[in-house]
């Protein structure tokens, strides 16, 4: 059996998603817009910097700043 090309598989899932949303009570035009947007996020914006996960380095820097703020607070009281 020939495997379904990725693009066509995506379309099939898209229409399935819209059908499910309409069955759940969403207006067809709203379901179609939702699908369009999710498709854009997953395809066109997939590699965009704004869609990347929070990295370990960013997390460490963020928590580090918070810990530094707490340490400054403790020093204000201690000294």
């Amino acid at each position: 059996m020939t495997p379904t090309p990725p693009a066509r598989a995506g379309e099939a899932r898209a229409s399935e998603f819209e059908r499910e949303m309409i069955a759940a009570g969403k207006d067809p035009i709203v379901a179609a817009e939702l699908e369009r947007r999710i498709g854009t996020v997953e395809r066109d914006e997939l590699d965009d910097a704004s869609r990347q996960p929070f990295s370990g380095r960013e997390l460490a820097a963020y928590v580090g700043v918070s810990v530094a703020a707490v340490v400054i607070g403790i020093l204000v009281v201690a000294l």
Partner: protein, 476 residues
């Protein structure tokens, strides 16, 4: 893809767009780091910050108060921002949609209609009472008589403030934004003016040597309760931050302005409130602004403060109503926006008849709501960072109970609900803000941080126990 999304012309699409259901696309996310910093500054320098500073002064002096406010807000904001801003920025969706994995579709509704709704109604009531007190003070000055800090004019002023807030809210987010654009810089200027008046009418020495207003005997306990109170203030931003962060362009534009903007602006306003409370015995500028600033300037400032409270109320209620509408499972989707917003204000309107109660129970309110919000943050962090490894399937999330990844029996993920309740219970066991009973550990580890950790661990353990066969990520 078009460079900029065109505003939808179809009324149904326009409505969904306004009510925040759609994930935002790159072209729609227009806020830079500076824009978001201003938004957060506008939220933080609201008049409630004066009251927080004044309440901190009940327990500790000026230097210890600054330390407690810095430590408390740094801790509270740290996990609040991680729990709400990070995911909302990446996926362009507001935080309640993203909580579906942790609580289930119905479970999110339960959380929103209890924890979030009660918290935001409490803050709205307080803002209405503060606007009423400003009105009463202005009326007293103009009439040349004392109408009282908790008299009927306060209630009338509070009710009028609620009516105006409802009117602003009913006009939609554009009107709210326009008002905030004027109010935010105005409040920043007024905060500086008030600090100048305070220093001019007292002295640095008096400020630094002033004793706390109503402390307990144990100094360590005083400090830790003050820290814990400020942690509660930090996490109290959770209900609104995700909805705002989805508007930002990048992670850096979301995370650092949310954390730094709220931390710095909150601290500045809180320091003014604390300084006033320590030197004058009252943190509320509605009490001391007219005697210090004179009738004309005092009245002008008080009118501005009353108005600022109204716009703050509109901002937080807008996010809450969006959450309520989306979490109602379609039940409230057909209720007109004006009716929905009016319904929200019923309880705050009733509370304006008890202004003294609202002021006196302020610390308890912040701490108890903080108990639940910290636990909620713990669950959200465990779900997004540990369980789902920051991966969300937007189709499945919108399908909810019709999909597989975020569907649970009855729409409730009991692992999330149980973890939330156990986390909050652990907080209240460590520190009960109503009876003021504490465990020995509270003086070392406070209550919020351990409550969030307990909620996160319980959530992960129960998930392993209850959903052993389950898939949590689409590529898992």
């Amino acid at each position: 893809m078009s460079r900029h999304e065109v505003a939808p012309t179809d009324p149904k699409l326009a409505q969904e767009h306004v009510f925040g259901t759609f994930p935002l696309l790159k072209s729609e996310r227009s806020w830079s780091a500076l824009d978001f910093t201003w938004v957060n500054t506008a939220l933080a320098i609201a008049t409630w910050a004066f009251l927080v500073g004044g309440s901190t002064a009940l327990l500790v002096g000026f230097e210890a108060g600054i330390a407690a406010m810095l430590i408390g807000n740094a801790i509270g904001l740290c996990f609040m921002v991680l729990a709400s801003v990070v995911a909302s920025q990446r996926w362009g969706s507001e935080q309640y949609m993203l909580l579906r994995g942790a609580f289930g579709v119905v479970g999110v509704g339960v959380v929103v209609f209890t924890v979030i709704l009660i918290t935001e109604m409490g803050w709205s009531s307080l803002l209405a009472v503060m606007a009423g007190r400003a009105t009463s003070q202005v009326a007293s000055t103009m009439a040349g008589t004392d109408l009282g800090q908790y008299g009927p004019v306060v209630t009338i002023g509070g009710l009028v403030a609620i009516a105006i807030a409802w009117w602003v809210l009913s006009r939609g987010p554009v009107t709210i934004g326009r008002f905030n654009a004027v109010i935010a810089p105005g409040l920043a200027v007024i905060t500086v003016v008030m600090m100048v008046f305070l220093i001019a009418n007292t002295s640095w020495e008096a400020l630094l040597t002033a004793a706390p207003i109503a402390p307990f005997e144990d100094e360590t306990l005083n400090f830790m309760v003050a820290v814990e109170f400020n942690v509660g203030v930090g996490v109290s931003w959770y209900p609104v931050m995700g909805s705002l962060a989805r508007m930002t362009r990048t992670r850096k534009a979301a995370v650092w302005p949310a954390y730094g903007g709220l931390l710095i602006a909150t601290l500045i306003a809180q320091v003014v409130g604390m300084a006033a409370a320590l030197t004058l015995g009252d943190s509320d500028p509605t009490v001391w602004m007219v005697p210090f600033g004179g009738a004309v300037l005092g009245i002008a400032v008080l009118i501005f403060i009353a108005f600022a409270n109204i716009t703050s109320m509109s901002s937080i209620v807008y996010s809450t109503i969006l959450a309520i509408r989306q979490s109602s499972g379609g039940l409230l989707a057909k209720v007109p926006w004006k009716v929905l917003t009016a319904s929200f204000f019923v309880l705050p309107a009733i509370m304006t008849f008890f202004p003294q109660f609202m002021y006196e129970q302020f610390m308890i309110f912040v701490s108890v709501s903080g108990a639940f919000l910290t636990a909620l943050c713990g669950v959200a962090l465990a779900d997004y960072f540990v369980l789902r490894k920051q991966r969300i399937d937007l189709r499945q999330m919108h399908l909810g109970q019709r999909g597989t990844l975020y569907a649970y029996p009855g729409g409730v993920n009991w692992a999330g609900i149980a973890a939330l309740l156990l986390g909050a219970a652990f907080y209240l066991w460590l520190y009960n803000p109503i009876t003021l009973e504490t465990q020995a550990a509270f003086s070392v580890i406070t209550a919020s941080l351990p409550a969030a950790v307990v909620a996160a661990i319980v959530y992960l353990l129960l998930t392993r126990l209850l959903h052993r066969e389950r898939t949590f990520r689409k590529d898992a």
